[in-house]
Amino acid sequence: MSGSGAALEVGLRGAVGKLRIEAAFEARPGETTAVFGPSGSGKTTVLRAVAGLTRLSGRLALGPATWQDDRRGVFVPAYRRRIGFAFQEPALFDHLSVEGNLRYAERRSGEPEGDPPVSFVEVVERLELGPHLERTPRGLSGGERQRVSLARALLARPAALLLDEPLSGLHRTARAAILPWLRALGEASGKVTLYVSHDLGEVVDVAHRIAPIANGSVAGAAAAAEALDRLPAGELLSRFEAGSVLTATVRAGLPALGLSELDLGGQRLRVPGAGRPAGTEARLRVRARDVALATEAPTAISIRNVLRGSVIEVRDLPETPFAEVAVGFADQRLVARITRDAASELGLEAGREVFALLKTVSFDDA
């Protein structure tokens, strides 16, 4: 379990109830791969099958370790797979204290290999479990239980960390503090992280790559920004959630204004929240409906964020009055949803220089 970890190859199919599962994707070491889709799409089943808790047919391997290969009659039971698993409904051991639950995982985690594993102290501190160590799980709130469950999974020193909506019971600000840490932890340890969620904000915060799932089918993982851009509106995302992800660098906090100033390929952006340390990376989700386009630099306007770029493509949304316009800035892209009428009146077409107007409030607090 060093920086050069092993990739998880998933090739599973089967039926659970009425749902037909067909999952084929790869999750790379050091990266967080989000299995992203609506509820009932089979996300949990795929994750359980990777853990060995649910049996599908096919092949499953973590680097050189084959966990399942039906052709060779191989099926490694869950307790022999180097995994950490956080259930959506945390399955804590009620007969042990919070600390007892964590030590249970630690005691069975085996000898550390390569890089030093995440320490008990760090996990307890980052997940703010210190004051709860002596308590029994039954007295904890839903969010506290989920944090204990996540901590326990991490302390199992997994080569593959499998998380099923592990923070769904937490408040958004608490989640925002944990997700970047989780992402960085995966990067540092070189382990595979599979993160199942139906929450787009969460996925944007945590995922390097996204494997969209719909009706039990996962057909591969792609880089987060690319995958989000390709997601069909209305199917995985509700119409108004379609959008794109921008990666920017924090230039400075502006505490007096409660804003932070970001640098996006030489252009300036201001987003809410002054607490971001300068020099860090900020990931911002911009919903397509929150972006307006202009062909000239606007003046005397309340919108503070104006980005200059050029149109990459204009895509009509069938059966709606809208079109989606992809705009490129350096190596990043942004999608705007405007009416077809506006698109034709402005004469938008590939290569045309435009100004994208982003309402400050449209940024997610990532």
Binding site: G52, P77, A78, Y79, F85, H95, Y104
Partner: protein, 226 residues
């Protein structure tokens, strides 16, 4: 009323119930675990077999046990290995009869407790690299502890109170097979009301404590789910 007629049956009864309870746990716990976890199609038939002594008249059970433990049954064969003739009318015979007779009282609460534990904690243990054997001892048994205690208490108490089966397979040999319930019967037959009162009153109090204890344990166990 003297100590020599009162204490031997009490001591024998406690010995019998104690030994029986140990075997009930050793035998009943795996049976309860299997009944709680298996997907075997005919598991309820096995459960019915275990529960049979609940409805069977003790004399019927005692009759078959007498044949089985006697010189011509398997019990006689086992006794032969140790130089005896028969397991009937002996302490080991009483233990075997008591185990069968009290088994449902031990298996049922333990099975319910294992069922209440459910799959999730065991799955969680598996994801934390606990083998099934490890998970059984480190998760299932501690979570089912109230059920295990209830099973032990009920098995013990039920053995203390048995009469019919013992009369059939143990007879009434003072110091060897004459247990409390049979002693009470004898005292009544001999019109020794005082002794019968004392022993019966003690059993009444004992039974009340046992039932109260079991109910409170089961209530505690029910609260575990919430």
């Amino acid at each position: 009323m003297n100590a020599e007629t009162i204490w031997p049956p009490i001591r024998l009864t406690l010995e019998l119930a104690g030994v029986t309870t140990v075997f009930l746990l050793l035998l009943g716990t795996p049976i309860a675990w299997w009944l709680a976890r298996t997907r075997f199609r005919f598991k309820e038939a096995v459960a019915a077999l275990v529960a049979l002594p609940l409805v069977l008249p003790p004399t019927v059970l005692g009759f078959y046990l007498l044949i089985a433990l006697g010189p011509d049954g398997p019990g006689g064969f086992v006794a032969g290995l140790f130089g005896g003739r028969s397991l009937a009318f002996s302490f080991p015979g009483l233990v075997i009869g008591s185990i069968i007779y009290s088994l449902p009282f031990t298996v049922q609460p333990i099975r319910s407790a294992f069922e209440a534990v459910g799959d999730r904690p065991l799955e969680a243990a598996a994801t934390l690299r606990a083998s099934p054997w490890d998970a059984f001892w480190s998760v299932a048994v501690p979570l089912a502890r109230p059920g295990l205690i209830a099973g032990a208490v009920l098995g013990f108490a039920h053995t203390v109170g048995e009469f019919g089966v013992i009369l059939m397979i143990g007879g009434n040999i003072p110091g060897a097979t004459r247990v409390l319930s049979i002693a009470i019967y004898d005292h009544v037959e001999l019109m020794e009301w005082g002794t019968a009162h004392l022993l019966s009153g003690s059993l009444l109090a004992f039974s009340f404590v046992v039932v109260a204890l079991t109910l409170s344990l089961q209530k505690k166990m029910g609260g575990r789910d919430r």
